[in-house]
Each structure stands twice: as C-alpha cells, then as structure tokens.
C-alpha cells in the first residue's frame, strides 16, 4: 500500500560561499529523477542544515562547498546529525574537493563525494542503491 513513497533530498550550501551553479543543477537534476528536493540556498549554518534535514525528514543530504572550508563545515554537519540520532541520513558532498581530502571526509561519515562533471544519473543511482531506510524505493504515483 506504500504507493506514495518518495525519496526526499535536502540540497544545501553551508558557509558563505555563493557559487550556486552545481547545487542548483543537482537540485533540478534530482527533481527530474523523481526525487523531492528541498533546496535551502546559500549561507546556511551547519545548525540550520541539520535542523532542516530533521524537520524535512530527508533520506539524503547533499552539501555543496567550493570555498575550501569543506572539512570543518562537513564535520559540523555530521556531528549535528549524529547528536540527533540522524546518522542514517545519506550524506553526499560536491564542489571543489581536493583528492587528498577525500579519505578524511569518508572517515568522517560522508557517503560519497561528487565533484564537477559528475552526471546526475550517477548521483541518483548512488542514492537509489544506498538508501538503507526503505523497503520500497521505487517512487510510484497512484494509479487512477
């Protein structure tokens, strides 16, 4: 009977970095892949992001950071999710992320890092195959 199941994704930009292109393209792309995308826009503090993820009860949290502040900001978001027992949320990271930071980010709990040039399909496939939370992943629209 779970005919209304939708995967919900929060796309957010922590910090003051205003380069929004990647975040917006991913937001549009995931919408077209059938996800419900909550877009919070620029200048979000880690606390705001955690709060939004909890209230919106998202399955996936996508962060986009191009300012080089990714280690600190991501750590804060992940700690915040942990403090609310929300570490089952899939955390994805995009932006300008140097290769050598990736192990530390994964260690911290980032599920995957998608840098420039990643096809949207790769992101949506990753999400669909990694969601631990749901027995029925396929979004189904109610039949008339």
């Amino acid at each position: 009977m779970n005919e209304n199941r939708k995967i919900r994704v929060l796309i957010s930009k922590p910090g003051l970095d205003g380069h929004e292109r990647g975040a917006m393209v991913v937001a549009y792309g995931l919408r077209d892949e059938g996800f419900e995308v909550i877009y919070t826009g620029l200048r979000q503090t880690p606390e705001q992001i955690v709060n939004a993820a909890i209230q919106e009860d998202v399955d996936v949290l996508g962060l986009s950071i191009l300012s080089g502040a990714h280690l600190g900001l991501t750590r804060k978001v992940i700690d915040g999710l942990g403090a609310q027992q929300a570490d089952d949320i899939l955390v994805l990271l995009g932006g300008i992320i140097p290769e050598e930071d990736i192990p530390a980010l994964k260690e911290m709990g980032v599920d995957e890092i998608f840098t420039a040039g990643t096809p949207i399909k790769d992101i949506s496939d990753f999400i669909r195959s990694h969601l631990p939370r749901s027995p029925e992943q396929e979004p189904v629209i109610e039949k008339p």
Partner: protein
Amino acid sequence: MGRDGYIKKIETAARQWEEQVLGPRIKRFNLAESPTRFYSPLNVRNSDFLEKVGFPGEYPYTAGNSPFDFWKAFAADAAKTGYRPDWGGAGKVGKYGGFGTASDYRDYLLRMQSMGRKGGPNIAFDLATQCGYDSDSPYAEGEVGRVGVAIDSFRDFQVIYEAYTGDLDIDKVPSNYTINAPAAVIIAMYATLAKKRGIAIDRLQGTPQNDILKEFIARGTYIYPPRPSIRLFRDICVFCTHYLPRLNINSIGGYHIREAGATHIQDLAFSFANGIAYIEAGLAGGLDIDAFAPRITFNAFGGSMEMYKEIALQRAARRIWARILKERFGARDPRSMMIRQPITAHIGCSSTTLQRPLNNLARAVIGGIAAGMSGGIPGAFPPFDEPLGLGHSQEATQLQIDATRIMIYEAKVADVNDPWAGSYFMESLTDETEEAALAEMEKIENMGGAVAAIENGYMPRCVAKSAYEKQKLVEQLKEFIVGVNCFTSDNEIEVSVNRIVEATYDPERMKTAEDRQKKSLARLKRERNGTAVSTALKTLCVHARDDSYNLMPDIIECVENEATLQEISDVLRQVFGEAQPIKL
C-alpha cells in the same frame, strides 16, 4: 552589373548549389540536414561597413577600441629583454591574491616583492568580509582568511599597505579590489589611507569590482536588497567621480554570469542590463554621462570553447555598448562608449576539465586565439591545472605564459585588427548575436530593468536553468567534452606532468588566522574611541534613511574612527534590510 543584379546572381547560384551539390550529399549520408553551414553575401545583405564595423578605434568599435593596443608597441622589446609578466594581472596591476590576516598577507607580499614581483595590490577578500561580517561573527566561523584576506577595520587595511610604499606607493600603482556589497567601505578605507599618507585622494587609481547586481545572478555575495544596493552604488559613483576621478567605478562581470551557467546571449544581455542600471544610477545622482561613463569598466565577457561565437560576442558587445551609450544616453566622449575590459574572449574556468587536465592547455590556447582575433592579448587563460583546486603550479604557469608568447610571436595572432571583419560568416554571426542580446535586453527593460529582473528572480533563474540545460546536453551526448563524456575508453592514456605547486600561502598561518584575527579585533574594540564610533555610526544610520544623502562621507567618517566593516554593514542592514535568496 548593379548590386541587385549581383545578389540575384548569387541567389540563383545558391539555389543551384543547394539542389545539385548540397542536397544529394545530405541524401547520400541519410541526414536530415547538413552538419555544416556555409555563408555567402546573402547572409549579410544589409551590411554597411562604416555603420556596422568601422575602423579600429572608431565608432561603433566593432573592430576594436584602438588602432593597436599599447602592449603591441612594446612586444618586440619584451621578447628581446625576456620580460616576464607578473601573470594574472596586466600592466601595473599585481597578481590577484589574499589570505589569512592582514599581516600574513603583507608578509607574503613583501616576500614576493623581494623575489621581483611588481604591481599594485589586487586583493581577494575572505567570504566574511565580502558578506559584511567581521571575523568574530558566527557566520565567519571557518571562513576567516580562507579565500582571501580578512579585513575587519581600517587597521587591517593599513597593514596590508605596509607592503606598498616608495615605488609602489598608492599614488603610483593601482589597487584592485574584488569586493562588491561592501565596496563603499573598502573605497572609504582607500581614501582614508591616502589621507593618512598625505596623498591627495584624486591621485588614487585602481578598480573596485563594485558590481553588486551580478552577485544576485551569480557568485552570491550580496548583503542588501537590490534597490538599496543601487543607492549605495550611486553614492560611490558620484563620490568617486567628484573626488577619485582616476579610480574606475566598477568592473561589470559578464565572466561570473557565464561561469554560473548563462548562455552567451544571457551573458551579454544581463551584463548590459546591469550596466544600464549603473549608468542610470549615476545619472540619477546628477552626473553628466561623460563625467563617469569612461570609468565604468567590464570584467571579461565570454567563457566557452566555441571560438567563433566568442569572437562574434566580443564584436557585438563593443557595438551594442557603444550604441547604448551614444544613442540612449547621449554620450559624446568616445571613452564613454568603449568597453574597457582586461581580457576579451577566453574559455572560462568552467571549460576546463578535471579529467586529463593537460588538455586544458589546448583549450586555453584556443581561447587565446579567439582573444587575439577579437581585440585582446592572445592570453592562454587559465593555467591547465585550474580545476585541480590547489592553486596554479609553476609548470602550468610557465606553459600558460609560453603558449601566449607562441601565439603572439610565432603565430602572430594579434598582428591584424579584427581579422574577421567582412567575413560573411562572422558579420552574420555578429548581427545574430547582437539581435538576440537586444531582444533579451528588451525583455528585461519591459520588466522594469535589471533590478526588477533580479527581484522577480528572472535573471538568476534563467542562469540556473541554462546551467542545467547545458548539463543535460552533456549527459545526453548532444554536446561532447573530450575525456569527460567521450573518448574515455581504456585505450586513452593519462598524460601527466611534474607539478610543483607554488608555495603560496603558509598553511600554518592559514590554520591560526581566525584566532589571531579575532584577538586583534577584540583589541581594536578595546582600544578605539567607542563614543566616536557610535556617533559616526548613528550619523550614518540617520543619513541612510534619507535617500538624498550621499553616504560616502559618513562611511569614511566611520572608517576613520575605526568602526568595523560589520558595524557599518549592520547599520545599513538595519536600514536597508537584507537581500532574500532567489527561489529556483
């Protein structure tokens, strides 16, 4: 045979060609249409050379702003003497940069100068500064000194300039500031510095970016809503025209709009729509058009691999702007009508790829050829390792400089002005570009101009949608990017080069910058005259509420009394409100 007869003859020939030559070939390969185009005089029927192109340095400047650029006069000498440009800047402008605290950056600059680097300050500010927050703001956490230097107060500003004295004093070299929303505060600091050094402020030169409207369309470091932001622009424009006449008023960023995903037409139309809004603000401030329009500059339109389109864009841009200034705003001074920009055509950083990055050198060279053919220095921009995100290596910079030299000296790319003038194809493409941009500008005009088209979300949404469309084309293999969505099999080999990243900024200092900056900010707040600060801020607040005041003198007063950048911004936030993000 008259012109009409000539055209008729070509029309007949064209029909014949299509039927007997082109048509059968299309059929033979089973295509719906020809994969190539061919242009003939039929495509440029109404082309009047003097009206549409003109000689280099003459209206409408399609063929270029001048008969030859200044650097051409020194090119041969530069080769003989082995001149090495302080790359990243042009002429006396220094390399763009900034990190840590003011003293970190000053020390870095002094070290670079001791190694022979010349040129004035070209300052990158950290994001907190760009967004009007001090280093002790919760918003600044983790951002202090990261993408640029942290400036909280005039003290910090002054410390950076300890690296600029003597031959590099502020009346001798220009200062460039990548600053938008708090531009008024930074300009006020510059003026205050001149005063403290006993230098007349009318000797100050340089360029603040000061292009707040594009921040709403791309880049995102806005503070106040668009309308009060334009009022601040007006105040800067009027003040600088009267008191800092050698300072450029702003640098309008087509570059950022394109990098955010705009099409080339949106790039042109939105930049000009913003430009018109700035011009109107200056006029509303009571200025004569020719008193300030020459000080409105641009920050490089363009940014794609499609070199034909980019060349046409440069030609169309010069013509459109010249006509707007002359016909719409009644400018008489040719300098008002010219687009002044540091580089012309280029590929844009977003054309570079992380995959097989050395290919970016080939890409940048194509951008350089387009630049050389459209009135600029044929610069190979950016260095191939741009997308690797670690700063440019010495190797990449060397290759970039050499590529540029090869284009100039060996290929002689820039030896002819507007080499495409008169090409049926290029004239037709230039006309098309112009028409499409004008149509888009008219749409914005009908909405009420750039400010309205930001408030209703039109321009930012268009750019986001174009970025997404572009992404879809790449994913659906309708557009190809070598090494990204095609030619990626195992047979291809990765070509790597040794890469020494220039030891730019001291990582230890980067780590501790936030703490040290917060401490010095706390010290400032203890040491300064609190009463003087609050008096200055109060006056600013009162005058901000009255649109007829020019706020620059008040902001200078605040800066002189060591009010912080955030304190000044907060007063204006309180009066002007804060900008809302744009809903997708």
